[in-house]
């Protein structure tokens, strides 16, 4: 049985350049080790069996994408590079966008990031190569693949996946307001709030963390974003921020953020300050203390 050579062809469906430039870097800079995968860059889409597709799929690109796809021999593998290709990212609400990509072609691997690190792009292509091998042998796209490249050390300062310190968040919605790609959704529940961050919509800009008044939402340097497409709707950071019950009146209330209290009462032990009574009972107690 002859070895299958992955033949890569890149299609830009309206990217901002970021993903394409970083794909070029991934393909030609040695430190990203893509040559260890034995891939070949081909000139003609007809010769290709591994498509790398970037961009949110603009209206004008759509018919041409279909035309190119029709020229390809099955089986082939599609690796979507960049948040745009996964969910249209920051451009989602525009009239000129017909994506995301998986409306028109079966996508095998998604690489979120805006743009993704070359290491993530390389990982995405590596996973694509594995899927290609399986498809070539008549198998279906697997549900799980182990990480192929192990070197995932990004600088501490790298803006990777966002995360939340639940105890510090007050559900103030600042992050939701400043997020440019509607990646954050805060919804009310009976006993508090749910705070969701959709990693596949996020453009990793750090606005949320910067404007968050409590320091609850923060970036991590985790960039493990090259995933099989069955993870598309599950790669979410879900957090529950629960109300507290007032020890006096039993009403539910949103406790003040420990992050904010820490900023306001620099010399006190915040945990002691934070007696579990609601704002109206606290006002009443203060009034009595001063005037009664």
């Amino acid at each position: 049985m002859s070895e299958i050579i992955p033949k890569v062809f890149r299609i830009n469906t309206g990217s901002c350049n970021g993903c394409d430039v970083e794909f070029v870097a991934t393909a030609f800079v040695d430190k990203f080790h893509i040559e260890s995968l034995g891939v070949e860059l081909v000139e003609d889409v007809k010769d290709s069996n591994l498509l790398v597709i970037t961009g949110p799929l603009t209206a004008k690109s759509e018919p041409f994408l279909k035309k190119y796809l029709n020229q390809m021999k099955k089986p082939f593998v599609v690796v979507g590079v960049g948040t745009c290709s996964v969910s249209c990212g920051i451009f989602r609400d525009s009239y000129a966008i017909n994506g995301p990509l998986d409306k028109f072609v079966e996508v095998d691997v998604n690489v979120a990031g805006c743009p993704p690190r070359p290491q993530s792009i390389a990982e995405g292509i590596a996973k694509g190569v594995k899927v290609l091998n399986q498809k070539m042998h008549g198998e279906v796209t697997p549900k799980k693949i182990d990480t192929i490249f192990q070197d995932f050390s990004a600088p501490q300062t790298f803006r990777g996946k966002m995360a939340l310190h639940e105890g510090m968040c007050t559900g103030c919605r600042t992050c939701e307001t400043v997020c440019p790609s509607t990646a954050i959704k805060i919804s009310k529940t009976d006993d508090g709030f749910t705070h969701n961050i959709w990693h596949n919509s996020c453009c990793y800009c750090g606005n949320c963390a910067y404007f968050c008044p409590t320091g609850a939402i923060h970036s991590t340097n985790n960039f493990d974003t090259a995933k099989l497409s069955n993870h598309k709707y599950t790669d979410i950071n879900i957090a529950h921020i629960e109300y507290e019950t007032c020890t006096k009146c039993q009403e539910k209330f949103m406790p003040p953020s420990r992050g904010l209290l820490g900023k306001a009462y620099v010399h006190d032990d915040v945990n002691k300050l934070n007696a579990k009574i609601c704002p109206s009972c606290r006002k009443e107690a203060n009034f009595k203390r001063m005037y009664a």
Partner: protein, 363 residues
């Protein structure tokens, strides 16, 4: 016998999607050029009016990731002009540092694509390897290799400390000699020169008439670098920072490449000067300033040339209208002059030599 040839829209030699219809004669010399656009149109002017001022800081960054600092920078200048805000001096300095780092990275990327098209693989690899200095720098200081998220209204998000300044200087000290050696390598490479000298000529008169900007203008002997002609931000406050621009008379692909080398070397000098005398104080004035009703036009020098922003506000949280004129818009027109009469095999190289940013132009 003339022949019709199409290039694109998805062409592996071109980083962005463009579509050319050419008519060539029996010697494969181009007689007619038709350029078909719109593949990267994402409706961004409309999107900008749907997003608030904070979101637009990031949206403008995604106009184009190659000059992704210039867009939010210019957008912020426009908002600040309307709000009558004076950015703290340190904020201005930090903005300029980020901008010049992006310029180096952007120009190096363009040069790498040029050598790629000239089939000078080792030069291309070396250019990309050197660009990695800037990529690592961006990732370490700002957290992303392309979209640095530097600007906020009234200043910058990031700050520098001694450790970071040392890292910047170390990076520049390592990169600069390699860049200078690289320029020599380009200048001494017979194959590269053969493919670029005398190719895609834009004469001085045409450059003036079409109104080209940036390295395309300077390659044809026209110096209209905004940092010199209409300085803004720290370039206005510290005239010594203004670049000593490189101009060439030849107007060919080679000249434009050499102008970019000149820009890179000057950018490095500017970054060194700014960090050597970094103003103390805050990096921004207010996190969320009030933006009254108003109208503003500002311009800056992006890696590809003059970038103009028009902004209209009505006192609400979102712009009423935002429009930008990007360098490639005027440089693109020059392609018709450059390509006509040249060999069809040179078309992609000529296209690359204006360092086109289609995503800026079509947005």
């Amino acid at each position: 016998m003339s022949e019709k040839i199409t290039i694109g829209p998805f062409n592996p030699e071109l980083e962005e999607s463009v579509y050319f219809k050419l008519v060539v004669d029996e010697n494969r010399v181009v007689e007619e050029v038709e350029l078909i656009n719109g593949f990267i149109h994402r409706g961004m002017e409309s999107l900008a009016t749907k997003k608030n001022f904070m979101q637009n800081l990031i949206l403008t960054e995604r106009v184009c990731s190659l000059c992704s600092n210039n867009h939010p920078f210019t957008y912020s200048l426009a908002v600040e002009k309307i709000a009558g805000v004076e950015v703290p001096l340190r904020g201005e300095a930090l903005r300029v540092i980020a901008d010049e780092v992006k310029r180096v990275a952007s120009d190096l990327f363009n040069l790498s694509m040029l050598t790629h098209l000239a089939h000078r693989h080792d030069l291309m690899k070396e250019t990309l390897e050197i660009r990695e200095y800037m990529q690592d720098l961006k990732e370490t200081i700002w957290g992303n290799r392309m979209d640095m998220s530097v600007n906020i209204l009234t200043g910058t998000k990031y700050n520098l400390n001694d450790e970071k300044v040392t890292f910047i200087l170390k990076t520049l000290n390592e990169a600069e000699p390699r860049i200078k050696a690289l320029q020599k390598a380009y200048q001494n490479d017979a194959v590269f020169k053969d493919k670029t000298v005398g190719v895609g000529i834009l004469p001085y008169e045409d450059a003036l008439e079409i109104g080209v900007t940036g390295p395309v203008a300077r390659g044809s002997g026209v110096n209209n670098d905004v940092r010199v002609k209409a300085p803004y931000s720290l370039y206005a406050l510290r005239p010594s920072l203004q670049p000593k621009v490189t101009t060439y008379e030849e107007g060919d692909v080679y000249a434009r490449a050499m102008v970019r080398f000149g820009d890179i070397i000057e950018a490095i000098r500017i970054i060194r000067d700014v960090v050597a005398d970094l103003p103390e104080g805050d990096t921004y004035l207010e996190k969320r300033p009030h933006i009254p009703a108003g109208e503003a036009v500002v311009r800056t020098e992006a890696p590809r040339g003059e970038l103009i922003y028009y902004l209209k506000t009505d006192g609400s949280q979102k712009p009423v209208r935002m429009r930008w004129k990007v360098p490639t818009y005027s440089n693109w027109e020059a392609l018709k002059v450059m390509i006509k009469g040249d060999k069809v095999d040179n078309v992609t190289m000529i296209l690359n030599s204006i360092d086109p940013c289609i995503s800026c132009t079509e947005r």
